[in-house]
């Protein structure tokens, strides 16, 4: 599979010269299978430039949402293929205890927040996430709830011998005095175990985290510890704090990786980065 990051920023888009290298667009990751299956993880502002590149060339697109915070759905209405009659778009996401995917999505994709109604999109198919594994093209997909306010999931996407784990918004250290606990008591572990590539929330520095406990995000050090616990081979830090410029992200990442084992590689996520698994 081929993975491209289109948006790596957390919370709110933060364009500018000082964020140009790691990028200012919010969460969006493109995953292409060898059979042409196209998945898009989250619909932050990064999905807009992806849509521009795709145009009407893709005939079927699967968008997998982790949750409905604005930075993960704000780009959806600006994803050009949604409006093209030749493109079939399947949108997958979690319902909550009381609302299904359609009801949750309509809170954003309807006036007065957005001028277009869901019903006006020509070939949009909604899927409430099923329990357990399901297949999309060549991909075996698993979703599971993870520690983040609201009803939020992470994804594990496998094809052949490769596994991508995507936990864009995740605070596994919440309520844990000495993180991490054992694997079976750690949120997200089953999704990330032995992943070839783990894309994981790394919004804060440790100093910042103590002032944001319960906000649903991780310190970079937590992401690294989580990756080690899960025995992931490559960690890509993600959901960068909008207040962190490129230099800050580089400095914090380097500091968190001082005593890294040789079995784990860490890369600070950057818009445009491509990974082949």
């Amino acid at each position: 599979m081929r993975i491209r990051l289109w948006g790596t920023r957390g919370s709110v888009a933060s364009p500018g010269a000082d964020t140009a290298r790691h990028g200012g667009n919010t969460s969006c990751v493109e995953v292409c299978g060898e059979d042409g299956t196209l998945l898009v993880l989250d619909a932050g502002t990064g999905i807009r430039p992806l849509g521009r590149v795709l145009g009407s060339t893709a005939r079927r697109i699967h968008i997998l949402l982790t949750h409905f915070h604005l930075d993960h759905i704000q780009g959806l209405g600006f994803f050009a293929p949604l409006y093209h009659p030749d493109v079939e778009t399947h949108l997958w996401g979690p319902g909550s205890a009381t609302h299904n995917l359609r009801a949750r999505l309509m809170r954003y994709l309807s006036p007065p927040l957005f001028p277009v109604h869901l019903r006006d999109l020509p070939r949009l198919v909604l899927h409430d996430l099923p329990a357990g594994d399901f297949d999309i093209g060549e991909f075996r997909v698993r979703s599971d709830r993870v520690m983040h306010p609201g009803f939020t999931v992470g994804y594990r996407i496998s094809a052949r011998d490769a596994t991508l784990s995507y936990l864009s918004d995740h605070e596994p250290a919440l309520g844990v005095p000495r993180f991490p606990l054992d694997a079976d008591w750690t949120s997200g572990h089953a999704l990330a175990q032995d992943a070839s590539l783990l894309v994981h929330d790394a919004q804060y520095s440790l100093a910042q985290y103590v002032h944001h406990v319960g906000w649903g995000h991780s310190a970079i050090e937590h992401a690294v510890a989580f990756a080690q616990l899960a025995r992931a081979r490559h960690l890509v830090t993600f959901h960068h704090d909008p207040a962190h410029d490129d230099g800050t992200i580089d400095r914090l990442t380097a500091a968190a990786c001082v005593s890294l084992p040789s079995s784990l590689r860490v890369t600070a996520g950057a818009e445009g980065a491509v990974f082949e698994l």
Binding site: M147, W185, A190
Partner: protein, 130 residues
């Protein structure tokens, strides 16, 4: 060992921060966790007991009724909450592992996932003013 459901993980983490005794079991009634205030009431640290099947923990603390007759696990509020998927409340006596006899009041409730699958149950208990 497979990862616990997120709801169960959250419950344990919540229990870890509370001042009242909390006891957590899975759908079979297997003890998964109890917090520090529960350790004081039960007379043993969780690290010493670890996870334990219902048949074992229900006899370990020897619960009994006011007349002294032993209480089976199925009559404890926690097991009622698991078996019948409803809240349950009751009072009974236990003999802690420190040998002390304690009058306990307990309120239990099931942990149900959004698809109505049962994930376990939680009991909050305290020494009754008797």
């Amino acid at each position: 060992m497979p990862q616990r459901p997120i709801e169960v993980i959250l419950t344990r983490q919540l229990a870890s921060t509370l001042a009242m005794p909390v006891f957590l079991v899975d759908p079979e009634g297997t003890l998964l966790f109890y917090n520090e205030p529960a350790e004081a009431a039960l007379g043993m640290r969780f690290e010493e007991t670890g996870e334990m099947p219902a048949a074992e923990w229900a006899t370990l603390w020897s619960p009994f009724a006011q007349d002294g007759s032993p209480l089976g696990a199925e009559r404890l509020p926690l097991m009622i909450a698991v078996a019948e998927r409803r809240p349950a409340h009751g009072d009974f006596w236990i003999r802690g592992l420190d040998g002390a006899r304690r009058h306990i009041e307990a309120t239990a409730f099931p942990l149900m996932r959004v698809d109505n699958e049962i994930l376990g149950a939680v009991v909050i208990f305290w020494e009754a003013a008797s």
